[in-house]
């Protein structure tokens, strides 16, 4: 789900790796921590880790989904 959310806002920073394991990879287009939209739709606990601190971002900690970190979605 994280790659779908990322694509929906036209950032496309999450890609499916061509390896046999089909890992999801995040490239330089990712603007975290400005954007955190992917985190709220990733179901695999512990699957996204903050590089600097090493802490898991899934499930998303409260500070990443404050109002100013969320993408407005209008009809």
């Amino acid at each position: 789900m994280c790659y779908v959310a990322c694509r929906e806002i036209e950032i496309n920073a999450v890609v499916v790796s061509p390896t046999a394991k089909h890992l999801l990879e995040i490239d330089e287009r990712c603007s975290y921590p400005q954007c955190t939209v992917c985190l709220m739709y990733c179901p695999a606990e512990g699957s996204i880790v903050e590089t600097d601190s090493g802490r898991s971002m899934v499930p998303p900690p409260p500070e990443v989904w404050t109002e100013n970190r969320r993408w407005p979605r209008l009809p």
Partner: protein, 246 residues
């Protein structure tokens, strides 16, 4: 509210990636779901405790046969194809990601059926999976509103499926968590752990579809109608749904 539900809400339901009418709509529907989600957790715990107190291993086979019937190859192919057909050819560019996830769910659910078959095989209840073809208990399930809603709920809108993903797949997650809190049998735990992340992914499909796409009253209406259907007390009981009293 049971702690298992509270933790599920805080981890997976309330965090949102978007603002807007889709999120607001989802949170309104969530309020409607809460009493039944809570009831489900308590019932799953009671059921697991009753199974443990039975003094027999039959509960493992009964759970696995029921699971095979509900999400084995037959039910999975039948029901997952229904959700794919809800998106017409012309709508595919808009909803292609949803179509991909739904196509993947066919495989997911068939795999879940194999997990149940594995319990029956490794538990010594059957010798070969083919034996299940002769057992009606492994091939019938009575719930109208179970994940495919069988034919009782027409998938008339590409987003209608989101209501089912959100309501029923969350119940799968909650039921698994509740059962794992009680049953320590290796066979059961292996099956449930193998299944839990997948169920959560299907719940996330519903959450994402509503947050990202259910932005207008026209798109919200068919989803709300799914919740209207699923939240009716007779939804899991076909005889009452079809006019009977039993």
């Amino acid at each position: 509210m049971h702690l298992i539900l509270r933790e599920f809400l805080d981890k997976w339901v309330y965090p949102t990636g978007f603002t807007g009418p889709g999120v607001e709509f989802r949170l309104r529907q969530t309020e409607r779901c809460l009493p039944l989600w809570d009831k489900l957790v308590n019932q799953a715990i009671e059921s697991a405790e009753k199974d443990l107190a039975s003094g027999s291993d039959e509960y493992k086979a009964a759970r696995a046969r029921g699971g095979y019937a509900a999400e084995g190859p037959f039910m999975s192919l039948k029901q997952m194809s229904t959700q794919i057909l809800s998106v017409e050819i012309g709508e595919q560019p808009q909803y292609i990601d949803l179509q991909r996830m739904r196509a993947r769910q066919i495989w997911d659910e068939v795999k879940h059926g194999q997990l149940h078959a594995d319990v029956l095989l490794r538990g010594g209840f059957i010798k070969r999976e083919e034996e299940l073809m002769n057992d009606a208990r492994a091939n019938t399930q009575p719930k109208l509103s179970y994940f495919g809603m069988t034919a009782m709920f027409p998938h008339i809108h590409p987003l209608a499926r989101a209501g089912q993903h959100y309501y029923n797949e969350s119940m799968a997650c909650l039921g698994i968590a509740a059962t794992l809190s009680v049953i320590d049998d290796d066979l059961i735990r292996h099956q449930l752990h193998s299944q839990s992340a997948e169920e959560l992914m299907h719940f996330m499909e519903g959450k994402y579809q509503i947050d990202a796409y259910a932005l207008t009253p026209e798109d919200q209406k068919p989803i709300e109608e799914v919740f209207d259907f699923l939240l009716r007390p007779w939804a899991p009981e076909p005889s009452r749904a079809l006019g009977g009293t039993a």
